[in-house]
């Protein structure tokens, strides 16, 4: 890294610690509705250049959404604030592990939030799967077409969730928002376990169909 570059990033860091100059920065960046490509580029910039400005922009986009998502899970505002901050620090540390060809920035950040929540609230780890080399054969490797697909995936999924029969949607949303296993959901709703299992299976199958064969 050149001296000039170092000085530049130091100046930028200084800049970011002053809230007012940061605010003016954001206005000029017009990222009201960033695409997945924008967000991926920010994460890669963090990974490669430890770019704090890119991080601030990513924070701007995700922190309020992470907080709202966490509040829906019934977490108190102060705990939610803490969880979001810890999650964003993990985003900074783990940026190099983000791979845009394997999923959208939101999917990746969702898993970081999930793991951090388990770490903070349950003092447990969430072991991550890592498909062994050789198993990821060419026919499923995401190509250019699939990346476009990934960009639209969020819209398609959202619509598909809305289209689910109420009984299936209720249980799937409860799984994500109320931090309950399917067994706990059955108990909570006073439903037989078998009913909850079959609603999950039907719902997930419908969602899968809506995504088509691009998996």
């Amino acid at each position: 890294m050149s001296t000039m570059h170092l000085e530049k990033s130091r100046a930028m860091r200084q800049d970011l610690r002053t809230p007012q100059s940061f605010a003016s920065n954001v206005v000029s960046l017009n990222l009201a509705d960033p695409t997945n490509d924008h967000l991926s580029a920010l994460i890669n910039d963090i990974a490669t250049n430890r770019n704090r400005e890119a991080f601030a922009r990513l924070f701007e986009h995700y922190a309020p959404r992470l907080k709202s998502f966490t509040l829906k899970q019934g977490t108190s505002p102060s705990r939610a604030e803490e969880l979001v901050q810890e999650t964003m620090i993990m985003v900074w540390r783990k940026a190099a592990s983000f791979d845009a060809s394997k999923g959208t920035p939101s999917n990746w950040i969702y898993t970081i939030l999930r793991n951090k929540r388990i770490d903070m609230f349950r003092k447990e780890r969430h072991p991550e799967y890592d498909l062994e080399e050789g198993l990821e054969v060419a026919d499923t490797a995401p190509g250019a077409e699939d990346r476009v697909e990934a960009g639209q995936q969020s819209e398609i999924l959202r619509a598909a969730i809305d289209d689910l029969p109420e009984a299936q949607r209720e249980i799937i949303l409860k799984s994500f928002y109320e931090d309950m296993s399917h067994g706990e959901i059955a108990e909570d709703l006073g439903l037989p376990l078998g009913t909850v299992k079959s609603r999950i299976r039907l719902g997930v199958t419908r969602l899968k169909q809506s995504l088509g064969g691009h998996q």
Binding site: L16, R52, S68, G103, S106, T111, H126, Y129, I161, Q215
Partner: protein, 218 residues
């Protein structure tokens, strides 16, 4: 070929973070060996990503961003345990998620031998009543008949076995509960390594079981 997978609802629980660590470990190990379930988990996590992306924006504290920026250069916490250097055999046998839970290569682990046909190593992972073990069953051996008070998950890592007419091989996710009484017979040819997660003790069901039970602390 993998023919036994975790149910969809178990995969959903993994994706939402509702599984306990031992259960999540068994699912993660399976999905490291099973392309179909890895894809399924990706889809379910994408559902989480979608719900996150479409969330309303809640107001963050005014000082939040600066608080985080000020902490970015803090030293990262030490990992729970230093990662071990594994020999080639261990790398062949152990799927990635399991490696974090072992202090050394397979041969260097402190195995407990149960008779001449079974060895057991208990993972240093303590959650509720769970017992999480790495097991090594001798090729060609028949295991004692037993039932379960709770659930038992066996994830095959090498070799295979046949139980009640079903064959289980590398990557297979074998979930048994109190309804099952079984006596696995291990394939000949190769020892069978397996990750075994139990949430209640095994009950031996064959002759002499009352005598054996106190000694076999499975």
């Amino acid at each position: 070929m993998i023919t036994h997978h975790p149910d969809t609802e178990l995969l959903l629980d993994y994706a939402t973070g509702a599984l306990t660590e031992p259960m999540a470990l068994s699912v993660a190990c399976h999905a490291s060996l099973c392309k179909a379930c890895a894809s399924e988990l990706k889809r379910l996590e994408a559902l989480g990503g979608t719900l996150l992306e479409q969330s309303d924006k809640a107001q963050m504290d005014a000082t939040s961003l600066n608080a985080v920026l000020n902490r970015l250069d803090d030293p990262e916490p030490e990992p729970l345990r230093p990662s071990a250097q594994f020999d080639a055999e261990s790398l062949r046998v152990l799927p990635m998620p399991l490696r974090d839970y072992l202090p050394a290569s397979l041969e260097a682990l402190n195995w407990r031998h149960i008779g001449s046909k079974v060895s057991q190593y208990n993972l240093d992972l303590h959650v509720g009543n769970y017992k999480i073990s790495l097991m090594r069953f001798k090729a060609g051996s028949a295991q004692p008949i037993h039932t379960h008070k709770g659930q038992e998950i066996t994830l095959v890592l090498t070799g295979g076995y046949t139980d009640q007419g079903h064959h289980f091989e590398v990557g297979d996710f074998d979930l048994k509960d109190t309804r099952h009484k079984h006596q696995p017979v291990v394939d000949s040819g190769e020892d069978c390594y397996a990750l075994v997660v139990m949430d209640a003790p095994v009950v031996l069901a064959g002759p002499f079981s009352r005598f054996l039970n106190p000694f076999i602390k499975l």
